[in-house]
């Protein structure tokens, strides 16, 4: 993992139009990546992963589950991160939910090698999330809860997220085939690798 660097002072600001295009591209690409694993029946980490597990178990659509389980987190986000971040996150979560209802039928596969599909998911969603983060939004959920845990209980936010994923994947081992969980872990690894290497506030300096 790259070490943190000092951030540039007075970074250039994105204009509203730039934010809109950045979030549009980021969210559509994230949805395309998720469509790959949704069609393979695989999982991922964090809130989206929990939503996938629930949607596979209950046969509810991913879109509704993802949208509903994010609601409690907005209250936390408002308290911890402020109004702009909360509104952008709520818009991003809603947009992703809508995209996930419409995109998968536009792109279905005759053949999709699970290994290839997993890598495609990690790369596409990694790129999409970079766009979302660089334009100061998020896909809501656990990230905010983890930051609050860090503030109040002194537990590192990253550890809270890892612990959540560990529990999610441990539960998944009992609910799904082992190969599903292993492919899913691999995809999550690629996704996080893409973000870890490329989400650098010292290199992409606009804000």
């Amino acid at each position: 993992m790259p070490a943190p660097h000092p951030l540039p002072k007075n970074p250039p600001k994105h204009t509203l139009l730039e934010d809109i295009q950045g979030l549009t591209i980021g969210l559509i690409t994230t949805a395309i990546g998720l469509s790959f694993i949704a069609q393979l029946g695989f999982l991922t980490g964090q809130t989206a992963g929990l939503a996938l597990v629930i949607s596979y178990m209950t046969h509810m659509s991913f879109s509704w589950v993802f949208w509903l389980i994010n609601i409690p987190f907005y209250i936390l986000a408002y308290v911890r991160m402020g109004k702009e971040f909360t509104i952008k996150s709520a818009l991003s979560v809603t947009a992703l939910s809508i995209l996930m209802a419409y995109i998968p039928p536009l792109m279905t596969f005759q053949t999709l090698n699970p290994f290839f599909g997993t890598i495609a998911f990690g790369v596409l969603t990694g790129f999409g999330l970079l766009g979302v983060f660089r334009h100061k939004s998020s896909l809501g959920g656990l990230g905010v809860l983890a930051l609050i845990a860090q503030d109040h209980f002194g537990i590192r936010a990253g550890l809270v997220q890892i612990a959540f994923d560990a529990i999610l994947f441990a539960v998944a081992f009992f609910l799904f085939d082992a190969h599903v969980v292993i492919y899913s872990l691999f995809g999550a690894l690629i996704l996080n690798g893409v973000i870890a290497f490329n989400h650098r506030r010292d290199i992409y300096i606009a804000n």
Binding site: P12, I25, L106, M107, F109, F116, F127, I203
Partner: protein, 204 residues
Amino acid sequence: MSKSDANPTKHSKFEDAQAFVYGTAMCALALMMLKTLGLITGQTAGLALLISYLIEAPFGIVFFVLNLPFYWFGYKRMGLTFVIKTLICVALISVFTEIFPRFISFETLNPVFGAIMIGFMTASGLMAIIRHGGSLGGVGIMALYIQDASGFKAGYVQLAFDAVLFTVAAFILPLDLVGYSLLGAVVTNVVLAINHRRDRYIAT
């Protein structure tokens, strides 16, 4: 620890490598979708696609061969490192576009959705390649060379090339496919124009 930790504005070899694999894989996936839909795009890749449709040859080989003469311009204008990086990227694209169909094929692919997705993926892939000092060779390099030699703007050379390519394609391919192709090329170039900012992404 990567080398860039000491100098955050210089990419390490490993960072370059991951960017080239990422960028060429994204472009190759986009090219595969273009082939699935029977579309073309601009520049050298577009010409290679059109030729591969006409003579029914594998795109990877046509693209690789078509690029060969341009390396000389690249060497003259941009230096050896650039040419080597470009050669690696072109070779990766050629191999990926031939291998990927074994792993992925589409049952349905909506052409409007496909064209937009192709635009996003190509722009993202090209940005990664360009930000790490590589290119996909071809017309772009020749355009820079012509600009140096004659003062004729490189952007206009590329635009003229695409205008001729799409005009020829309009006589060969069905018009709706030419329309979707244009949509994809416009999305690619708008995304590149807005996001490829040396003043914001400062590493080289």
